[in-house]
Symmetry: C2
Subunit: 453 residues, 2 copies
Amino acid sequence: MKTDFPGPESQRFAKELNQVFDTRALNILADYKSSKGNYLVDGDGNVFLDVFAQIASIPIGYNNPELAKAAATTDMVDAIINRPALGNFPSKEWAGILKSGILKAAPRGLDNVFTAMAGSDANETAYKAAFMYRRQRERGGQDADFTAQELSSSMDNTAPGSPDLSILSFKGGFHGRLFGSLSTTRSKPIHKVDIPAFNWPQAPFPQLRYPLEQHAAENEASEQASLSEVDRLIRTWPLPPAAIIVEPIQSEGGDNHASPSYFRQLRALAARHGVLFIVDEVQTGVGATGRFWAHEHWDLDSPPDMVTFSKKAQAAGFYYGLPALRPNKPYRQFNTWMGDPVRALLFRAILAEIERLDLVANTARVGDYLYSRLEVLAARYPAHFANLRGKGQGTFISFDSPKRDQFVATAKKLGVNIGGCGAEAVRLRPMLIFQEKHADILLDVLEKVAKSL
Amino acid sequence: MKTDFPGPESQRFAKELNQVFDTRALNILADYKSSKGNYLVDGDGNVFLDVFAQIASIPIGYNNPELAKAAATTDMVDAIINRPALGNFPSKEWAGILKSGILKAAPRGLDNVFTAMAGSDANETAYKAAFMYRRQRERGGQDADFTAQELSSSMDNTAPGSPDLSILSFKGGFHGRLFGSLSTTRSKPIHKVDIPAFNWPQAPFPQLRYPLEQHAAENEASEQASLSEVDRLIRTWPLPPAAIIVEPIQSEGGDNHASPSYFRQLRALAARHGVLFIVDEVQTGVGATGRFWAHEHWDLDSPPDMVTFSKKAQAAGFYYGLPALRPNKPYRQFNTWMGDPVRALLFRAILAEIERLDLVANTARVGDYLYSRLEVLAARYPAHFANLRGKGQGTFISFDSPKRDQFVATAKKLGVNIGGCGAEAVRLRPMLIFQEKHADILLDVLEKVAKSL
């Protein structure tokens, strides 16, 4: 650290920016051109080890040289300046870009993609696919046409054309901030208050106690209670759920975990009721849990119906397998741009680097190292590293601290950028290039912070 | 044209793409690298004069050399590979990029921006701003805090935290396809059927008859009927509208116009009721009507409260002026990326070209030329150029044809790519670099099409 935080230059930039753009959520005024790898530089030249990574979205480091190469190709220039309406006018390269990139990363069993712009619209287009699928099935399949009443009532936003259906989500879940996704988000009031929402159901998410091995029975009971309530809501909610959406680890809501067994039962329960099962991997996807997709930890018998992605993919959308999730007619799931080839090209380059450097395995290994060292810290400072969680989940690790905001602020003054989530969780979201040496720097600062509080 | 349309290579590419990506809305399989200026090349080397321009979104031509330069800068590489979470970690360049780009284009009176990804979320974030503004005012201003009941009920998606408020839109309007924006979209059932929607009100949009000068009295009556219904809905709809959203020209809905006087009255009516006035310039903005923003044609006494943009801006978001449209706390209007610096840099380069080549004036001039020649065609083939409209609106011109789909398909076989909208409208959406010589080619093909039908 060269200056106090925030330093004078950062304050000057922030003041200028605030004239035209809301800066009240400003965390660090960054100098990206000077940033490198795991290190973020601010407007005053202060250097931070970055274990927040743009809210878990920088995958393989600032100014990654391979990404810089991909960004300087004629393909990229073409993608920037000739942006297509992908549904109407895809390029002759588009199939190849998808197959060598976004679809190469597709979860097992999901061989189609609808591309989007960010996590929110990735989830909302998945919801739309679920609603159309449900209504098609109720009408008697793909070949059954809409009734005149459905068509006319849809124009008035009333049933049956605008159906009284819902998406079931979980307390503590975060799925985005647009109107449909926000109706399924149940993280914090500040995300939701004053915004109209659909009358959609929420089930309790398991509330696991730590260490897990000391609370096996009550954790199992909490998971069963959650499943039982999901079952009840599907059977009784006045707006029947067309789909369940769940995060493998509730991230924004506080890094809440559940067991693989819970997710296997949830998937089976959804299938039994004919309700689609959407896994929101916006934050967990692309390697951070030590598997490419976090739901690979579950050993499902049958894949999720849809998996949504964004953040570290730098592209966004949802994968699907069921052919009937393509709506029965064109222009039902459609918009002008339908994604962004710039971001599809970048994801392809990210994937190539992940493969070349074996970064998923790296993250599993470094995560195990970090977790084991955090266990030592937690034993030493139990109040500041409570409910340590994420064992075997790569670097997707978190713990609770009663003075969380102060914890994170102190770390920043010591040169480490960390994020919080939920009420008092400290979430670690390093990039996939995080190594043992970076973990050591982080652990050293975490101990200093704990001592100082 | 070198081959039949679609040619063999295009068919082969389409078949390959269809394995992984829905291609049923496919129009032209494009070869962007070979496309140039107003001309789009397909996978078989066929060359089309493009007056649809990626659904009205390519602003200044394929492979524009100035944009290619901007796309190859180190600033652009930085923007691609170091994508920030703009709300938390803006770069020290971000204020400058906004001021020299997006905000340089801001409508008069609107000096702040919230950046987004596309038209749908630009509109939805504007709606969120309107709802938060409305509830803040009802609570007694920016300093009044939320009640405990508001906070807790918002987590259940129920009032008062999730308020029973609405956005008023117009029949025939199109504002996007996510859940909030789709609730205000009233263009066609295929956009809406099977998707749950909010119980929000719609007013009739004026239905003008052409030629305008022959129908002055009934057009005035239609506009007054619309205004009167807007007034009634604001006073009586069970979910009070926090805002009205309107397109200067209803584009997707069929290129429906209204007079400047109508919009002035609508703006005044909104102000009188304390309802915000949002102008959706996603399709009309950035020069195509012969003014930079279409609402400049109206000579408003006070500016719109918000103006949304996307498409030809290649960036997206909403402009606003009222300081209270910044919510009273941070993290209320927020998401991970909050826009895309890649697109902000591109918009800046687009603006520089528009200014350098005086392309708004160009579009006004060429539009007048095109319109006057279309009047001649309309007199000669009245059935195929019915309700010619867009006089004095740059190249934002359209007409109705009873055989519209055949009209557009025939034009394509003759080497011109044209779009339709509404039930039977042919909409012309050339780029801002469209010249008289291109208009002549277009007019020649239009006449051939009319003769052939």
